[in-house]
Structure formats: structure tokens, C-alpha cells
Amino acid sequence: MIWLALTLLAPFGAGLAALALRRVPEAIALTGAALGLAGAIALFAGVAGGAEVTATLPFLPDLPIRLVGSPLTATLALVVAAVAAMVLTYAAGYMARDPERPRFFGTMLMFVAAMQLLVLSGDWITLLAAWEMIGFASYLLIGFWHGREGVPGAATRAFLYTRTADLGLYLAAFLLIGIAGTSEISATLSTTGTPALIAGLLLLFAAMGKSAQVPMQDWLMRAMAGPTPVSALLHSATLVAAGAILLIRTAPMLPGGALLAIGIVGGATAVVTGLMALAATDLKRLLAASTASQYGLMLIAVGAGVPIAALLHLIAHAAIKSALFLGAGVFQHDRESTDLDTLAGAGRARPGIFAGFALAALALAGLPPLAAFYSKDAILAAALNSISAAWLLPLALAGSVLTGAYMGRALKVLWTGAAETPRDPVPLMAVGMGVLVALAATLGLVFKPLEAMLGAHLAEPGWVVPVMGLSVGLAGLALGWLLAPARLLGPLLAPARNGFPLAGGMDALVVRPALALARRCDRLDMWIIRRVVLGGIVAGAQSLSRRIERAEAGLLALVNAVGQLNLSLGQISLRTDRDTIDRAIFGLVDRTIALGSRARRLQSGFIHREMALTVAGIALVTGVLLAAPLYF
């Protein structure tokens, strides 16, 4: 209970402190992150035996706020806390010269706190709240350098895309709460039948937005506009992970139909975004596309019915991807760009950082004994043994080959080319990255005990799957190192570089029509007047306006009369103060009369048109009411 609170409140409190004090933000941030990590470790140790810690706070009647520390949630919390601590260490070096550090560290910590809330939430309402908070915090972080060109647009786009997908989460949550009668996540997971299928598909929609699955992958590439530590955090254990975490947590409920859809979406993403990564001309965009691709592989595992494999890959990927981003940030620091042409040879100039980057890249490609070797094998095994193996296995293998290929390409670009002497040592950045690389290399060792703790047992790998995994990884690396993307992709290069405009067509499907509709709505008055009213309603409108004038005159006369009556009453009671009374009590009457005369001069000429619309509205309501018996 206390560790649960510390995990959540340490980053939250530190975030508030950093924003409020506006000095020594690094020290506050690192303290907060360290305390949060300590809390997460203690929580993890506490529930390692399989116990569960829950905290319940009163909120809406019958819908309390629940926080749950189970082996699964505690593991995820630990991953979030560890990655956050390392990324913040790195950021202390990376952001050293930025004048807005308090805002940066404050928002980062808030973001981490919101993510912990999401991971530990035990009811749907808290989950929704946390889901929205991480969306908003990531908007603030992606838009951190909002003065730069294109940045506010990228932040807004990321927010709108993920928000659109949130619709799925809201509907699924309402549905599950409605059926189970409680908002407790674990209790709603016993839902079966059609509702479970609908809820599963809605959850998939929500996860697709957050985890940047096809066709909603576009925002993730653009989100690179934020500072590199932000990307490292977003892509590894937090924002993007939220979608996969959602599906992993609700996996027990998902029926076969939903699983198949999840697997196929994941597989398609693994391949499509893998191609985009291979075609990318910018290192950070390459890594971003790779993130979407790896989450696609995780969705394949969920779809194959082995969420534990997805969880292991999520953990391995969190360490690997944050390390890769941090490495990319160092190169960016040297060359002031993340363009692959500019970065040529950047790795040779900093052999230490390059070694770390390469280790992480090889880990992602799935070379033993690095972390993702085990998790990727688990995913391949899951796909192989699944009833939908015919769909899932080829997609998973293609995703793995592409992983090797784009990592091989990145390594080649960074290594070949003119080296130049680096400008300055980067101790803090190296420490943050080094720890993550070490984790990326060794995490595979803890996977066995972790499985035992989570009460899940993966099948023994045998020899087929490891050989298959290793050979596709090596083949990919070799292809990426040896062949230029133009040769490798052929005609696919241009569409892949543009992010597969067809697949990334959210703009055309949602954003542009919404804006066009909005503009049209604004012109509605004019439009209706020209096209509709002119037809035949003009006469009606005119007679109506005459009638309005009469009504107005009548009302004025009435008001006048009331005013006169009241005035005479006033004269009787307070004859001495007539003028004041007139002004004060009957200021209302006075004003209304003055108003009438003034408005006559004004001749706005629009009211009758709007009244015509009102009459049309009344007619519509009447129509619906008259037609209503037909429905009942």
C-alpha cells in the first residue's frame, strides 16, 4: 500500500515541486525518479510471491477508485520507473543548456506519474483518467519546443489521432461497466459472448491509436519533433506502450474473433512500418517506425493467445528502444541533425556510444543472448502454435527480417563515413544510456523467473524456433548492411518513405472533412438563405418578419402599459423621488423602450432569416414527433 503510493506520488510530487520551485529541476527530478523506482522495486518485491495489494478510495457512488499491485502491474510499474529514471538522468545532460528546464522536468515527471497511474489502475474510470492524462502530457512534451516550425502542428496531430482512438476505450469501458455492473477491471474480464467481442474490438481500436498501429501510425513519425528524451520515454515504456498494456491486461477476456483481428492488425503493422523504417531518411523517424513495428509484433503475440510473450517483448523493447533513442540523441547532439546523410560516420567519432547503440540494435534484431532474442522467440513460437498460424507466422517472420534490416542499415550509416572529433564529453548522457544498454543485454536472464512469478509457462523453445528467429535476424542484418534501401525496396521505396499515404490517410478521412464541414456550418445561414430560402420561403419569411414587427409593437405597447402602471404606483408611494425611481426600478422598462426606437434605426435585417430557420426547426421537431408512433 505504502509502496503503491510512493511509486505514484514520488514522481507526481517531484513534478509539482519542479514546476513550483523553478530551480534545481534536475536534482528534484532525479530524486523523484529514484524514490519512484525504489517504490516500484519494493512493490515488485512485495507481490513477487503472488500476493496482491489493492487500495480503494471513495469516488463516485459505487464506483470507487481502485489501485492494484499485482505481479503483472508491479512488473510494468517497475519497467516504467526504471526507464524513466535512466531517461531523466540522460535528460539532465541533454537539456543542460535549455532555459525552460523546470517546465521540461516538471512535465516529464507528471507524465511518468500518469503512466504509473495507468499501469496500476484497478478500475476503468481511473484507467480512463490516466489514459487522458498521458495523452495530454505527451501533447505538452511533443510540443515542448513550440516556438519551432512544425512543432505545434505535430503535437496537435499526435493528440487528435490518439484522442480519436480514445473513443474506443470510452465505449468499451461503458460497455463493460454496464454489463458487469462494476468498474473493477478484473471483475469485468469475465464478460463473455458478443459483448466481449465488441468490447475487444473497441479496445483494439483504442490500442491502435496509442500504439500507432496501421492505419493510425502517422502521428508517431511526426511526434519526433519533441526533445529526444521525450521520444525515448514515449516510445519505450509509456505512451505507445499503453495500447499494448491495455490489450495484455484485458487478454483473458478477448474471444477468438477479437484475437484474430488483433493479430492481423499487429502483423500488418509489423510489416508496413518495418518497410517505412527501412525507407526512412532520418534516424529518429527510423526508430519511430521501428517502435510501431515492434508493437505490431507484440500484438501478434496477444492475437496468438500468448500475452506473456507480448509482455516479455514489451519489457525487452522498453530497455532497447530507450537506449537506441538516447544514442541517437548523442549523435544529434554532435551533428545538430538526425538526418541519416548528415549522421554518416557519427558512430565512428564516438566509439563508446556507438558500441552501446550497436549492442541495443543487435538485441532488437534478436541475436542471442541479448534480451529480445528470448522475447522474439516467444512471439514466433506463439505465432507458430496459434490456430491462425497461417496468418500470423509469415507476418511475424517478415517483421523480424525487417527489424534486422533497418537496424543493419542504421548501423552501417553510423559507422561508414567521415569521423570527426566529438565536441565535448557527455557523462550524464552516457550513464543513462549505459544502464539501459546493460539492461537490454541482460534482461533475458530474468525472463524465466518472471514467467514463474506471473504464473505463466511458455512452451520449451526446442530448436526450430530459435534457429528460425536467429536466421531471420541475421539475414535481415546482412540485407540491411549490404544492400541500399532503394535496391531492397524497389518500387515500394517512395510510398514507404511517404508513410504509405493510403494507409496514413487519416487526414483525408477525418481531419479535412471535419474542417470542411465546420466551415460549411459557419456559412450555413448564408447558404440556406441563398439556396433554400430564395426558393419559396422568402415570401413566408417576409410575412413572418411583418408579423414579428407587429408582435414587437404589441409587446412594446404592453411593456409600456405595464411601465406606466408601475410608474403611477411609484408616483403614489414616492412622489418626491420620481426621477430616481424611474431610473432605478423601471430602468428595465426604460431600456426596453429606448431599445425599440434604436433598433428601428438599426435595421439589422437578419432576424427574420434566423426566425425562418427557427420555424424550420419547429417543423422538423413536429415531423419527428408525428412520425414517432411509427417507431414504437
Binding site: C521, E610, L625, L626
Partner: protein, 455 residues
């Protein structure tokens, strides 16, 4: 004896009426501070008198006026809301001529709003609509310039037409039931045409007050022409009262008349039109005006579910409380920042706390958990789903995505670099106090929602 009981139950209303009269007397002596003090004291006293009453369920004066859950909470929401509005009025027009008249009119309009919220009889609804209407016209016209006059005129004409349609249509109900009491509406079972005529009357009359599409045309003009504090007041108090009145009228009407469907269509049109129109406004007041039109659509979801879901009445009450807090807050920030979207440029940088407060209000208006607005919308959406209007709930959620687009148009420029020559400076302490109060409510009432009526 009966009379004595009635008067005791009416103590808050009578107190407020007395305060309004005293305010007018004080205005005769041009003592604007005294006017304000009397107003605040009257509102506070009336609120305190209401506190023990929410559990009462009674009617007074032969069933024409109801003292029940809705009217009780209406007082607890509208009276503090009016007090905050009075402070905003004072902050905006202190020292200008007729300040006290404006204050006293505000209190009188609130009295009309209370009439609407407790209406148990057609005539009380009519009195409520007229009392809120006449005062509002004068309030909008207060600046005495062309824009205000035109806005007030438009408001008046709309009020005159919709008011007469309403009175005309209500006579059908009177004819059908032989009584003006809403409690007799159950007898309308089977008389389809009579029911429809009266319904149209109510929808037009109260829809105008609550600015539902297509009876909303006056709202953006009136808010733009009026002083910002008056726009804030009108956008929350009279609107919330309209929906309380809706709830009082329609809860007695059999649900088989098709009115839930008609209202659901209006609700969907209102929220969609409101947000779409807000999306392209450049004037800040008009933008918030259209956004409050859209919020009316959410209110209406609760009305649609009346009698079919336990969430309906709590939803309307909780959302009303949240809406009063967050919309007053947004308008208060506009009062400090300026009436144009450009005035917000860099506002969040020069005024970090006010900027943060504005973000909270806007997020709450969007319905982001755990803020107050979310709880209200959550109840209303649940009510719509339970009543079988899943499609309406989906439109509601989709519109909240649109809402975010609308509100981000405010948030983004707030944190842009300040242009040279932009405004700086401290706000009026009264306005700042109002912002603080509604900010606390918006932030924490969501977590304390257990205090409010639940299903």
C-alpha cells in the same frame, strides 16, 4: 396553517426577492457597494436556508411550485453561481453608471431562474421565462452601444416569438387535462396531437432559453454584445434553469409520445452544430458562446433519458454544477485576457496561473477525467445508454473529440511566444478570486462527486 408551511418552504425564494427589492432601494441612493453587499448577503442567506432542504419533497401553493430534489439542488447551484457572477459584474463595470441596476437585475433574473427550476405548473414556467427574459434583455443592452442594442433587440424578438408560441401551445395541454398542473400530464395518454402541441410549446420556449439548435441564434450575438460578466451569467444561470424546467415538465409526461427521440435529435444537432461553429470563430466570446450551445446538447441527453434511467436527474444536476463552475471560469479568464482570440496570444506565459486555470476549465468542458465536467458527462452518457440511446452517446463522445479541437485553439496560442506590445499586467482581485473559487470546484468536486446526488 397550510399557508405557514408553504411560506416556510419558500424561505430561500422570499429572502432572495426581499434582497432584490432592497438592492433596488439602495440603488436609488446610488450606493453601488451597498447594492452588492445586500445581493451577496441575500444569496448567501438563501443558500444557507436551502442547505437542510435537499431531502424535502413537497409542493406549495396547490402543487404549482415544487420543493424537491431538482429545485433544491438548483438553488444550491444557481445561488452561489449568481454570487460569483455579481463579483464579476462588479469587477467589470465598477464605478460606471447604473452599476447597481445591473446587480439588482441579475438577482431578479436569478429569482426567475428559481421559478423555472421549481415549476410544477404551466403558468409558473411562463412566469419564469418572462421574468428571466425581461431582465436579460436589459442586461444585454446595458452598454448602450449599437452592438449591444442590436443584440438585445434580437434577443427580445426571439424571446417574444418563442414565448408566444410557448403560451399558445401550452393552452392545448390545459385543454387536454383541464388543469395547468404538470402532475396531471399523465392524463394525456392517448391524446397524441394535444401532447405534441404542448411538447412543441415547451421545446420552443425552453429550447430558446437553453439555446438549443435551432433556437440558439440569439446567443452568440447577445453574449458578444453584452458585457463579458453578463454573458458569463446568462450562459450559465438562465441556461441551467431552462434544463431544470425541462426536467420538471417532462418527468410527468408518458415516455411513449416519441418526445425522447425528438429531443435526442435536437441534442445531437445542438452539440454537433455548436462545436462545428465554434471551430471557425475568431472572436473569443463568440467561440465560448457556440461552445456553450454545444454544452446544451449534453444537458439535453439527461432530459432524453428522464424516467428511463436513474442517471438522468443526477446527471443534469451534477453537470449543471460543473458547467456553472467551468463556464464561469472560462468567461472570467476572458474578462481578464480580452475578447479576441489574438488577445490570448502568450497569455499563458505572462499569467502562468491563470493560463493553467484556463486549461483546466477547457479540459473540464471537454470532459477529461478526473475533472468535474467529466463526472457530469459520465452520468449523462450513462443515462443516454441506459435509456437505449447508444447512438446519442456515441455522438456525444465523438463530439468531445471535436470539442478538444475547439479548445486546443485556445490553449495553443496561450503558450506561444508573446508578441511585442502584448498585454501584461495584473487582473482585478475580484475576478481572480472568482477564478480561484471555480478552479477549486472544477479540480476537486470531480473527486468529491460522492457528495452530490447519485443514481
Amino acid at each position: 396553517m397550510e399557508m405557514g408551511r408553504d411560506l416556510a418552504l419558500l424561505a430561500p425564494e422570499l429572502t432572495l426577492a426581499a434582497a432584490a427589492m432592497l438592492m433596488i432601494v439602495a440603488e436609488m441612493f446610488r450606493a453601488a457597494r451597498l447594492v452588492l453587499a445586500i445581493g451577496l448577503a441575500g444569496l448567501t442567506a438563501a443558500t444557507v436556508m436551502t442547505l437542510p432542504m435537499p431531502s424535502v419533497d413537497a409542493t406549495v401553493f396547490g402543487g404549482t411550485y415544487r420543493i424537491d430534489l431538482i429545485s433544491g439542488w438548483a438553488k444550491l447551484i444557481l445561488l452561489p453561481g449568481t454570487a460569483l457572477s455579481l463579483l464579476l459584474v462588479r469587477a467589470e463595470i465598477a464605478g460606471r453608471p447604473r452599476e447597481g441596476s445591473v446587480q439588482s437585475l441579475v438577482v431578479l433574473v436569478t429569482l426567475g431562474a428559481l421559478m423555472l427550476s421549481g415549476a410544477g405548473d404551466m403558468m409558473v414556467v411562463v412566469i419564469g421565462v418572462v421574468l428571466t427574459g425581461l431582465g436579460s434583455f436589459a442586461l444585454v443592452a446595458w452598454p448602450r452601444d449599437d452592438a449591444a442594442t442590436e443584440a438585445a433587440m434580437k434577443y427580445l424578438v426571439f424571446g417574444a416569438v418563442t414565448g408566444s408560441v410557448m403560451i399558445y401551445g401550452l393552452t392545448f395541454w390545459f385543454g387536454g387535462t383541464g388543469s395547468t398542473l404538470f402532475s396531471g400530464l399523465g392524463q394525456l395518454q392517448g391524446q397524441t396531437l394535444v401532447t405534441i402541441a404542448g411538447l412543441i410549446a415547451i421545446i420552443v420556449g425552453l429550447g430558446y432559453k437553453g439555446s438549443l439548435v435551432p433556437f440558439h441564434f440569439w446567443a452568440p450575438d447577445a453574449y458578444q454584445g453584452a458585457p463579458v460578466s453578463i454573458a458569463a451569467y446568462l450562459s450559465v444561470i438562465t441556461k441551467a434553469a431552462a434544463f431544470f424546467a425541462f426536467a420538471q415538465v417532462l418527468r410527468d409526461l408518458p415516455r411513449d409520445g416519441g418526445w425522447p427521440l425528438a429531443l435526442a435529435v435536437i441534442a445531437a444537432a445542438t452539440m454537433t452544430y455548436g462545436y462545428l461553429a465554434a471551430l471557425v470563430q475568431t472572436n473569443l466570446v463568440r467561440l465560448i458562446a457556440y461552445s456553450s450551445v454545444a454544452q446544451s446538447g449534453y444537458f439535453l441527453m439527461g432530459i432524453v433519458a428522464l424516467g428511463a434511467s436513474g442517471f438522468a436527474v443526477p446527471g443534469i444536476l451534477v453537470f449543471a454544477a460543473a458547467y456553472v463552475a467551468m463556464n464561469l471560469g472560462a468567461f472570467a479568464v476572458v474578462l481578464l485576457a480580452g475578447r479576441d482570440l489574438d488577445d490570448l496570444e502568450g497569455f499563458g506565459r505572462t499569467h502562468p496561473w491563470l493560463g493553467a486555470a484556463m486549461v483546466v476549465f477547457l479540459l473540464s468542458l471537454t470532459g477529461i477525467p478526473p475533472l468535474f465536467g467529466f463526472v457530469g458527462k459520465f452520468y449523462l452518457l450513462s443515462a443516454a445508454v441506459e435509456a437505449g440511446f447508444l447512438w446519442l452517446a456515441i455522438i456525444g463522445i465523438l463530439n468531445s473529440v471535436l470539442a478538444l479541437g475547439v479548445y486546443l485553439r485556445l490553449v495553443v496560442p496561450m503558450y506561444r511566444e508573446l508578441r511585442p506590445g502584448g498585454t501584461q499586467g495584473r487582473g482585478n482581485p475580484l475576478t481572480l478570486a472568482v477564478v480561484l473559487v471555480v478552479l477549486v470546484a472544477t479540480l476537486f468536486m470531480g473527486l468529491a462527486a460522492g457528495l452530490l446526488p447519485g443514481p
